[in-house]
């Protein structure tokens, strides 16, 4: 399976490593010409959403990626990636793809001193190690969005059609189950 990882800024190498360990061919998206190829899924990694959102547009990849996701391309988004997908951001005027009908709060746990680790339940996977780094959470999700995980009554992982998103960073752990869940979505799409 061929997976594209948005590589304009942030922790894209960690996703790449995990996907390659799971047998995928990975391609990095840094500019428009990287989008001439086809792929079976796309990853929006952690990093700074302000930087990624800006570079997506200025390096002329925004429209192409947006229409691919709208047309059913499976997407895995972590942390900043979740912010890129969200239709609403409560504490920021910027909007990016806006395809996931949720309202997120950026830096919802405060500054770096608020970053934390939590072993929490993910629906269908069981207990999962969650790294929250200056993380967002989802304040409100549309009723059609499937909630996969909550921490302290805040939604931190969701699935909505072809979109899988988490406020934490499965790519920073050794646990590949969340990525496998994503690859399963890609496999079903190919069939």
């Amino acid at each position: 399976m061929k997976i594209a990882v948005l590589a304009v800024q942030g922790a894209f190498a960690e996703h790449r490593k995990m996907l390659e360990a799971l047998g995928c061919t990975v391609t990095e998206l840094r500019q428009k010409q990287d989008l001439t190829q086809d792929f079976d899924g796309i990853v929006l990694p952690g990093g700074e959403s302000t930087v990624q959102g800006k570079l997506l547009r200025e390096l002329d990849m925004y429209e192409d990626i947006k229409s691919r996701i709208e047309n059913g391309l499976p997407v895995l988004a972590t942390c900043a990636g979740l912010i890129l997908l969200a239709s609403d951001i409560v504490n920021d005027d910027r909007r990016h793809f806006g395809l996931l009908p949720v309202s997120v709060k950026r830096n919802a746990y405060g500054r770096q001193l608020g970053s934390f680790h939590y072993d929490g339940e993910i629906k269908g996977l069981g207990i999962f190690p969650m790294e929250f780094i200056r993380a967002p959470y989802i304040e409100v999700a549309n009723q059609n969005v499937e909630v996969l995980a909550e921490v302290d009554n805040h939604i931190v992982a969701v699935r909505y059609g072809n979109q899988l998103a988490a406020a934490f960073h499965p790519e920073l752990t050794e646990d590949t189950r969340f990525h496998q869940m994503f690859l399963e979505m890609c496999r079903r799409k190919i069939k």
């Binding site: 590589a7 304009v8 302000t50």
Partner: protein, 291 residues
């Protein structure tokens, strides 16, 4: 628990990779930096070029000024404390800074000891000009490393030298027999397990950025091609003719650091670069502070 925090702190540095961290002195500059695509800002009263020009003792910035910048932007905010000045570091932690730079740019407060960074919850980045310095800082608790370069000069030669030195030492250790690593630990004055990590992984155990003297998109791309995982730009932006345009160009050059055609495009009409001073013209080598 302390270990868990250290992991979270190393992971914040991972999130900054592929990005540009810009020195800013006012909330206005911080907003310009964020708009231009900085992945974090370094809040300080005077940028290194001005510290160099002014001379005298250079200290941690006014906490009020730093807080003004924290309020102005949504990206991580870093600030500098003097080498060995653990109380300045305590103050920065008290105002919830995202990263402390224990920096040779400021006047050192201790000429023997660095801060015991393992005693802090907040993360630290430290400068290094070779692998020994980098591993000693990591052993003291630094969760991110940057080259020292020579700050405030606009001359990239030292950053290049430090990055190449680190790379060649990592390559040397990677190719050694395991029974030779004990002696390396002795030579570098660092614990064996850090040397073993480098031997097995062919890299530092934390993220490594370039810093010091980066002034153009080509400088930034040069450091990335030499293996930096991101770039600090200090005086290079707000000491130049058109900070917004230059900052934007450097950010894009770091993302597409191997695309010469794009970087050539980005390098057009940037206005005047910071004037700069050559390495052999300067009186004070900041990189010699804190080994």
């Amino acid at each position: 628990m302390a270990n868990r925090q250290y992991e979270l702190n190393k992971e914040l540095a991972q999130m900054l990779k592929g990005g540009v961290i810009m020195d800013v002195t006012t909330p206005e500059q911080a907003r310009i930096a964020e708009e231009a695509g900085a992945c974090a800002v370094m809040a300080l009263e005077r940028i290194p070029a001005d510290i160099r020009a002014a001379g005298g003792v250079s200290r941690m910035s006014d906490p009020k000024m730093i807080q003004g910048i924290q309020e102005a932007v949504s990206i991580p905010v870093m600030a500098k404390c003097r080498i060995g000045h653990f109380v300045e570091a305590q103050l920065l932690e008290a105002i919830e800074i995202d990263y402390i730079d224990e920096s040779e740019v400021l006047s050192p407060a201790d000429d023997v000891y660095h801060i015991d960074k393992t005693k802090f919850k907040v993360p630290f980045v430290c400068g290094a000009k070779d692998l020994g310095e980098a591993l000693r800082r990591i052993n003291e608790g630094a969760s991110m490393i940057r080259t020292k370069g020579e700050p405030g000069t606009g001359d990239v030669v030292q950053a290049v030298r430090h990055m190449r030195m680190m790379n060649s030492e990592i390559a040397r250790i990677s190719s050694m027999r395991e029974d030779e690593l004990f002696n390396v630990a002795k030579e570098l004055q660092v614990p064996y397990d850090l040397v073993l990590y480098v031997h097995e992984n062919h890299r530092l155990p934390v993220v490594n950025f370039a810093a010091g003297g980066v002034a153009t998109p080509a400088d930034a791309a040069l450091m990335m091609q030499l293996g930096a995982e991101g770039v600090f730009v200090g005086s290079g932006i707000f000491k130049s003719g058109n900070p917004t345009k230059r900052a934007n160009a450097i950010v894009k050059a770091v993302t597409n650091y191997t695309d010469a055609k794009l970087i050539a495009e980005l390098s057009k009409d940037l206005g005047e670069a910071m004037v700069g001073i050559n390495e052999d013209e300067i009186q004070l080598l900041m990189a010699e502070r804190g080994k």
